[in-house]
């Protein structure tokens, strides 16, 4: 019988691939063009309305940038504290002990229910009354850490709960104790689930850390204000601060995206749909 299959067209695939590649290249170029135009427009608007004093900026930029390490340090330290509190908080919220659970739920409710700015000010004034006179930076870290810890408690809790129940059942049916199951099976998977959320929270923290300037922590925003005020160029220095925050955010987002892609490689299933 005549062959059911025609001749196989080998060139076609390469042609299509090349076409798709050039299309996506064109798209990326146009996309970047759009950004460029918008950024240029923004810069033009700023130059027209704010009347940038480049000499002034050149003189004060190093001073303003001294705030960057403080911002990053405060953010890192706060997110670390927040993660610790969130792990404890999530354990508490999942506890069958009503008292532990009550404490954790109170913590979450209270710190999520009131403005961060107030918490910073309160903690600044309240800690010394409890006999704990910490310098401004640790105080700010505590305030940020407690606030974000409350939000992240819920993230962690839902991360733990997002681990399919089948995992717990499989571990238990192998004879593992509840504790071993939690530590060896649940937590590692939950951590993978919440990593993106931690990354996002860190990026948000970078900006919220600017609020601790009210208690005289010399971070980026504070430095910008100090540079701008006496010279009455606040708008310019704040603009610089905004740019620096933006660059930091983009840098960390980029870093985070890479990290997530790397993590995802192991997760991606070879054949979609097979279980």
């Amino acid at each position: 019988m005549t062959s059911l299959a025609g001749p196989v067209n080998q060139v076609l695939g390469e042609q299509i691939l090349a076409g798709e590649r050039s299309r996506s290249r064109r798209w990326r170029v146009q996309f970047m063009l759009a950004w460029l135009v918008i950024v240029a427009a923004l810069v033009a608007f700023v130059l027209i309305t704010i009347n940038l004093d480049t000499q002034f900026i050149a003189k004060w930029l190093p001073f303003i940038l001294t705030g960057v390490p403080v911002t990053i340090f405060v953010s890192f330290a706060s997110i670390t504290l927040a993660v610790i509190l969130a792990v404890l908080g999530a354990l508490g919220r999942l506890s069958v002990n009503p008292y532990v659970n009550g404490l954790a739920s109170f913590y979450v409710s209270f710190f999520r229910g009131t403005p961060l700015l107030l918490q910073i000010v309160f903690i600044y004034f309240a800690l010394p009354q409890m006999g704990l006179v910490l310098p401004e930076i640790p105080t700010g870290i505590i305030a940020l850490g407690f606030n974000y810890g409350a939000y992240m408690t819920e993230v962690f809790r839902s991360g733990i709960q997002a681990v399919p129940h089948g995992q717990t059942e499989a571990a238990l049916s192998l004879g593992m104790s509840g504790g071993t199951t939690f530590r060896r099976i649940i937590v590692p998977q939950a951590f993978r689930i919440v990593t993106p959320a931690i990354g996002n929270d860190f990026i948000a923290m970078l900006k919220d850390s600017s609020l601790v300037s009210v208690i005289s922590v010399h971070e980026l925003l504070y430095q910008a204000q100090v540079a701008g005020r006496p010279n009455h160029k606040s708008m310019q220095t704040l603009l610089i601060a905004a740019m620096v925050y933006w660059i930091l955010t983009i840098a960390f987002s980029f870093f985070q995206a890479r990290l997530e892609r790397r993590q995802a490689v192991g997760d991606r299933s070879r054949r979609p749909g097979s279980g």
Binding site: P128, Q129, Q225, G228, R229, P230, S234
Partner: protein, 295 residues
Amino acid sequence: TGGATPAPSVAASAAATAPSSAPSAAPSVAPSIDPNSLLGKIVAAGKIRISTDPNYKPFSFQNPDGTYDGFDNATAVEAVKRLGTAVGKPIQIEWMTPSWDLITAGGWSGRWDISIGSMSVTIGRAKVVDFVDPYYYDSGAVAVPKDSTVQSLSELNGGKTFCVGAATTYEQWLTGTLEIVDPDKLPAPTDPQVTSLPTDNECVQAVQSGRKFDAIVANANGLADQVKDGLPIRVLSGPPIFTVSVAFALDKSGPDDKSLIEVLNGIVNDMHSDGTLTTLSNKYLQKDVTMKPGG
């Protein structure tokens, strides 16, 4: 200083309705006001937007019923009343309360017309705002915690910790960036460790809560007020650390404000000479701060 003027108690609101018995030497404004000037706009709107910082008792604060009160506000009410007389049209006041940093930074984008809120005249500020003639003279003072052994400014040299309100002249004095026209200012302590909180109220509160500062630098009258209220601080005796003129301020980058300044200069001078300012000062501060020290 001129404590000799009789002090009839006039409330801020009352001041607005009080008959201006004072001789009005204000230049009667020409009917030809440039409509594009700040004055023209204010007259056309029949309204002036005044920025004030009601966190600054006794100069500016709010009452529980929401009304604005204090030396600055009473002065503003009287000045605007006289402005209305001068232009032949009553002018309403709209109070604005942006944060103090935003006021002192200039570049108001037309958000408000004038600051009548205890702004000290400094050379730096004069680059971004235009000042009217001073309506009072302010002096800074240093306070220490009640239990402190410090008695004089010289003991605060060499790396002591200070608390000040952010974006104030006191912060500038400490950091060595204060440039004022008035010459007599004391040298700031050497190598100060400065903590700047939103206002000096927070400083006092910080001390009260147990935070340790070697000293607080703030407005002498404000500190006196706080001592009176029983807060745990003590004001160092001795001459003021500096004295500075305090004036209404207008945005340099805003519409042409020359005509308005001219009118306001007249009004402020009238209020000096007819004793209105002294009266208000005595009412709110229990002393007269409207005379230039040594002048």
